[in-house]
């Protein structure tokens, strides 16, 4: 047990020297009763203040044009986000559905809270280079800080303005951003054989399903093996 707080009295401290900082107001504060006014002046100013307040609110009531409300679900067709708005991370795919991610994992390393998990095929049999297996993005932890987009050396990531993403189950917030597991568009182009290139593009589920936090086990859900590519 301690004694009650002995708040140091002001006498203990000599007056503080504020130097040149102790200064006058820029604009004197408005005050109705504070200054030495007569009763009539106080009443008049109070009345004026109240009436002007009432008129201010009335002026908005009077003019329905001042209503600024957006009708969200109804205006869905015309609603557009700003082009830089960060609503959802997406991996850019070209017209042929090929992405440019080399699985260099810079974004994964620099992501502040490990919202990006990249698994890769260490050596693709056709190209001989590492190829992306899964680009897992966890929307449930993502803070949309944009660092992944900024640091990507190949500019394959972008933030889209898509914002309608409510779900009933938090595990539905984990995505595979890549549409296929396999080499990048550039690497595929270098392959002579079109058939061989096609064969490298293994289709990928968009929905990743449960991702255990930091590679541990979730109740009854098997541990995600980040080293070995899971068979698709």
């Amino acid at each position: 047990m301690t004694t009650t707080t002995p708040v140091p009295t002001e006498t203990e401290c000599p007056p503080i020297d504020f130097g040149e900082l102790k200064s006058e107001c820029v604009a004197p504060r408005p005050s109705i009763m504070g200054q030495k006014r007569g009763l009539r002046s106080i009443l008049w100013l109070s009345f004026k203040g109240i009436v002007r307040g009432l008129l201010t609110t009335l002026s908005y009531f009077r003019r329905p044009s001042t209503v600024v409300t957006q009708q969200y679900p109804e205006n869905r067709e015309t609603l557009e986000m700003f082009e830089r708005y960060r609503g959802r991370l997406s991996l850019i795919h070209n017209e042929e559905g090929e992405h440019g991610c080399t699985a260099c994992q810079i974004c994964e390393r620099l992501c502040p809270n490990a919202s990006i998990i990249i698994t890769k095929d260490k050596k693709n049999e056709a190209t001989g280079k590492p190829a992306l297996d899964q680009f897992i993005w966890r929307q449930d932890t993502c803070t949309f800080c944009n660092i992944c987009v900024l640091v990507c050396p190949f500019d394959t990531l972008e933030m889209t303005g898509d914002f309608e993403s409510s779900v009933y189950d938090r595990r539905l917030l984990v995505f595979n951003l890549n549409e296929y597991a396999g080499p990048t568009a550039g690497q595929l182009d270098k392959l002579e054989d079109d058939e061989l290139a096609k064969a490298q593009m293994k289709p990928m589920k968009k929905y990743q399903g449960p991702v255990p936090m930091c590679g541990g086990e979730m109740d009854g859900i098997p541990k995600l093996d980040v080293e070995k590519p899971t068979d698709v």
């Binding site: 109240i50 307040g53 009432l54 201010t56 609110t57 009335l58 908005y60 009531f61 329905p64 001042t66 209503v67 600024v68 409300t69 009708q71």
Partner: protein
Amino acid sequence: MADALLNQLSLTLSVHTSDVFVAPAMSLADRASRALESGVWGAVLYIVIGLVAVLTAVSVLGLVMSYIERKVAGHFQCRLGPMRVGPHGVLQSLADGIKLLFKEGIEPGHGDKVIFIGAPIFSITATILLLAIVPLAPGIQVVDMNVGVVYIAAVSGLGVMGILMGGWSSNNKWSLLGAMRAGAQMISYEVSLTIALLVVVLFSGTLKVSEIIESQQQGWWIWRGHGVAIVAFCLYVIASTAELNRTPFDLPEGESELTGGYHTEYSGLRFSFFFLAEFANLFVFSALAVTFFFGGWLPFHVGNYEGFNSVMDLLPPVISPMFWFGSKCATLIFILMWFRWTFPRLRMDQLMRLEWKVLLPIGFANLILAATVVLTGLYFFPSAT
């Protein structure tokens, strides 16, 4: 038995529908009383009509007023208010009502349960009793006592009981604080309310509500009161805002201070009774103001301008009283809402200072002045006595 009932009913209807035109100014209670002469069923019919009418009025007023309040608030604030439940959200209140009916009612574990359930009874009963005396049009009034104004002053104090009991029995310190605030506030402003009404009683010389309206045939008291009535009206508006616990006097339920105020612990339907009473009271107090100061159902006339007055009288006699009463009432309600959505809240000490040091002395002075005016016969309108 059934035959007798039918006979009585048809007899009552045939006799008393003509009453509407014969004695248009009779209240429902008086009619029931008269019907008793020819048989008990007629009286029962009137009683049932009265009960049903008031019950409906309370519920409908609660729903409609809360919808209007939300819409008006929205437009004051550059937004729209409820829009998605029904066209322009007209079914919003209905949805709220149904939801509240199907919502769990929680009882505090250690509170006094009887008082806890009893508290809304007082609030609702006070509202119902007040609604009963509101004259919507000649004859459309449930009770019309000869001590009407005293009745109003007496009954309006009943609501405080509900709030005090609710706060006390909630076993919650915030509720208790809200209830104590409500108690101190509402009884204080009750005095001013009564004194403001006394001025009108002085002018009209009667306590009966319908007669007070009739006494304004020559001009509404707010005009004819020689300035005294305007002061009385201002006192009435301020005091009734305080009685209604609306901003700037919403201290008992000040959300930013007392979390929920006296109804913090109430949920579901129990809470909705307070809600209902609050909104119905909003109507009641505006209606009473209209009755006392703005000539109730009487149309707007200006002195001896016959042409203007006849334009005002153009409405058919059945609609006219309702229209005039309704429009006056709506204006007052709008003003109360306007206050609510503009002003900040007072502090407790300021509230008490306003009543006891400003309004009450003004009220007394005004009362004496009114008495002098009445005695000396200083009226604007020559025809008035």
